[in-house]
């Protein structure tokens, strides 16, 4: 008897079993169901039971795959409709005929990933945000954005911060028209936005849309640090990319996802959109005092047949949508004057007032970390590592100081005395120019723990105003409070842990494109300090020379910090 057909069947059967076993633990299957490996087991990030076919689906990829395979074999329409990408993968993997039952847009030319950078008014947005734009062949205004947003239930303040840290909020994928959402980022929050084209094949664009259909009704718990918009968008991209670009880490920031995509050569055609307030300040500060008053009047009183010069009108128009979006009581007047301003500009033959996105020649990594070394004339050395550092020394922040540092470590080596280790939990600066219209206030927050033979702490908050100085710098005055047992400036132990008021008055001045000068008087820790600093930026290297004077003693410090 010829046993060949039997062996062939046996081979096919065992191969299919083997293949089936492999596929349920393959990247594709694990990613599509958002599984993370925990030791030897798996757990899905999805928190809705309906997202799985089986009861044990959240933790058992194999059971989930086998149940899904049966539904595909049974030609289950509900499964194919709810989980079109799983159906596609199973069909392709098992050589079944793939007959899609859901339609996706076939006019999407490319996918853009947008990175609105830090927004200092919201703790969750200080590290930026990420969303995808499904750009159609009819342009952005016909396109949708795909983003992951948390439902914060309207809570604010401390509850919001706590809820975000402990995962109290649910997050959802949303697909919304681009023209609606871009208003939020461009005019309400007024962020700088960087856009990159994602290099995807048409098949991947189709899979992205199918993945969204699977995900649209299911929630994921949202955590500020590790399961945030950047992580979840990264996990979504894992589904369609050939290699994973995000893995579970202690914290995930949007810039990390962008950098990983850049490292994998998956991004091209960078476009940069500068925030309207920055552009406005640039023009507004160059106006004379009387012209500035005219700009401000345009926000409060209707001006039929306005006859102002083009710089006044351009300045007004640049910030007008931001004002309409944030101060609704002024919108009638502003809208009336916008039309009058445009009419006048047309008479003056001035067009192109709206800002345009700036094309970058190349795509470069976002700098979000730093490492540094300092030498002090008293023979001490400092070594610094900031795993999260969005520096104020970026190209478009020439005047304002908006920096975010977190989880920084500073080791101070002192040959003649004990060494110290400082842990900067957060160090946030938002020194931004005030004008009569924008009413923006400046603030600083710092929280440090220091080990110097014993544990010490310094908690700091300062608040005040900063004014433009010669359109090339800022004069600021801040008052605040320290809750501290440690002099953070000279690293001296204080007698007790106490609340101590603080005053800071200073000037930050750009001397050249890359050279800055800072001088300040500070009354902190019940002492008077005068600080002077020269900072030279050479590519990604910050070179600082600092002199700190307190009474009869002075400290000279030379430091180098590399941003990467």
């Amino acid at each position: 008897m010829n046993k060949l057909p039997f062996y062939v069947l046996l081979l096919i059967f065992s191969t299919s079993l083997l293949f089936s076993g492999e596929f349920c633990y393959s990247r594709k299957w694990l990613n599509i169901l958002f599984y993370d490996k925990q030791g030897d087991s798996y757990i899905s990030l999805a928190d809705t039971s309906d997202f799985f076919i089986t009861q044990e689906g959240k933790t058992d990829p194999k059971a989930e795959y086998e149940a899904s395979l049966k539904l595909v074999e049974a030609n289950d329409l509900s499964f194919k409709t709810k989980f079109p990408l799983r159906y596609k993968y199973i069909a392709n993997n098992n050589n079944f005929k793939y007959e899609p039952v859901v339609q996706v847009a076939n006019n999407i030319e490319n996918v853009v990933i947008a990175y609105p950078n830090r927004y200092m008014s919201n703790p969750a947005s200080m590290f930026g945000h990420l969303y995808l734009v499904l750009k159609t062949n009819k342009g952005l205004l016909d396109s949708d954005i795909l983003h992951y947003v948390a439902d914060t239930k309207g809570v604010g303040g401390f509850n919001y911060l706590l809820g975000g840290l402990v995962g109290e909020f649910e997050g959802w994928f949303l697909r919304e028209p681009y023209y609606k959402e871009v208003k939020n980022y461009t005019y309400v929050e007024d962020r700088d936005i960087i856009y990159y084209d994602l290099k995807l094949f048409p098949e991947q664009i189709e899979d992205l849309q199918l993945a969204y259909i699977e995900l649209q009704n299911y929630s994921f718990y949202y955590y500020f640090l590790d399961k945030n918009c950047a992580f979840i968008i990264g996990k979504l991209l894992n589904v369609i990319l050939l290699e994973d670009i995000v893995k579970k880490e202690a914290y995930v920031m949007p810039s990390q996802i962008i950098n990983k995509l850049i490292d994998a050569s998956l991004l091209e055609n960078k476009l940069f959109r500068v925030s309207n307030t920055k552009l406005f300040n640039n023009i507004f500060n160059k106006l004379s005092g009387s012209d500035k008053k005219k700009v401000i009047k345009l926000f409060f009183k209707k001006h039929p047949n306005v006859q102002y010069n083009k710089e006044i009108l351009k300045s007004f128009l640049l910030i007008s949508e931001y004002v309409i979006s944030n101060y609704s009581s002024m919108s009638d007047t502003v809208r009336f004057n916008r039309i009058e301003a445009y009419k006048r500009l047309r008479e003056l033959n001035v067009f192109g007032v709206r800002q345009k996105d700036i094309k970058s020649k190349s795509v470069s990594r976002i700098k979000s970390e730093s490492v540094g070394v300092s030498g002090l004339v008293n023979g001490r050395y400092e070594f610094v590592y900031n795993p999260v550092y969005f520096s104020e020394y970026s190209k478009h922040d020439k005047i304002d100081i908006k920096s975010v540092k977190c989880l920084g470590i500073k080791l101070k080596l002192n040959p003649n005395d004990s060494n110290s280790l400082k842990f900067n939990i957060v160090d946030l600066k938002n020194i931004t120019q005030y004008n009569e219209l924008l009413n923006t206030f400046s603030w600083e927050v710092k929280s440090s723990i220091i080990y110097n033979d014993s544990f010490l702490t310094n908690q700091e908050f300062n608040y005040g105003l900063a004014f433009n100085f010669l359109n090339n710098g800022l004069i600021y005055s801040l008052i605040g409070l320290n809750y501290t047992s440690f002099d953070d400036i000279t690293d001296v132990l204080l007698v007790d842990l106490n609340f101590i008021p603080a005053i800071k008055i200073g000037l930050n001045q750009n001397l050249t494109e890359n050279l800055k000068f800072f001088v300040s008087y500070e009354n902190r820790f019940k002492k008077d300090y005068i600080k002077a600093e020269l900072l030279y930026k050479h590519d990604n290297l910050l070179n600082k020379l600092m002199l700190i004077n307190e009474g009869s003693s002075s400290i000279l410090k030379l430091s180098f910090e590399f941003l990467f």
């Binding site: 023209y179 128009l317 009638d332 039309i339 067009f351 007032v353």
Partner: protein, 110 residues
């Protein structure tokens, strides 16, 4: 006899019905309303700027919905009447009237 009366009644009212126009399907109306209101400030800016992405988009949406050429709506959206209207809702209502005049369709009940 009653049938004849009903016929005459309808014939007499026909011009009124015709003038009233046809409301565009709900999903299309909603898209036009939403785009007009959300993008009002940009539509106004477009009317005075050299680049007109928002006007082009709305012209396209209206043209697709009503089978009137895009250039007709392009002219309407660039007209003095619309580009001088400082209230978004009135702007939309005015556009609704112009759409009805040009195509017999409208997208919002007044």
């Amino acid at each position: 006899m009653n049938g004849m009366k009903r016929f005459l009644f309808i014939v007499l009212l026909l011009p009124i019905f015709s003038y009233a126009g046809t409301r565009l399907p709900e999903n299309i109306s909603n898209e036009i309303i939403s785009f007009t209101l959300f993008s009002y400030d940009n539509l106004i800016a477009d009317a005075y700027e050299s680049e007109k992405p928002y006007i082009n988009r709305l012209s396209f949406l209206l043209s697709e919905a009503t089978n009137v050429t895009e250039s007709v709506y392009y002219q309407i959206l660039n007209s003095k009447e619309l580009s001088s209207e400082p209230f978004p809702v009135k702007y939309m209502v005015l556009l609704n009237k112009k759409t009805l005049e040009k195509s017999g369709y409208y997208f919002v009940d007044e």
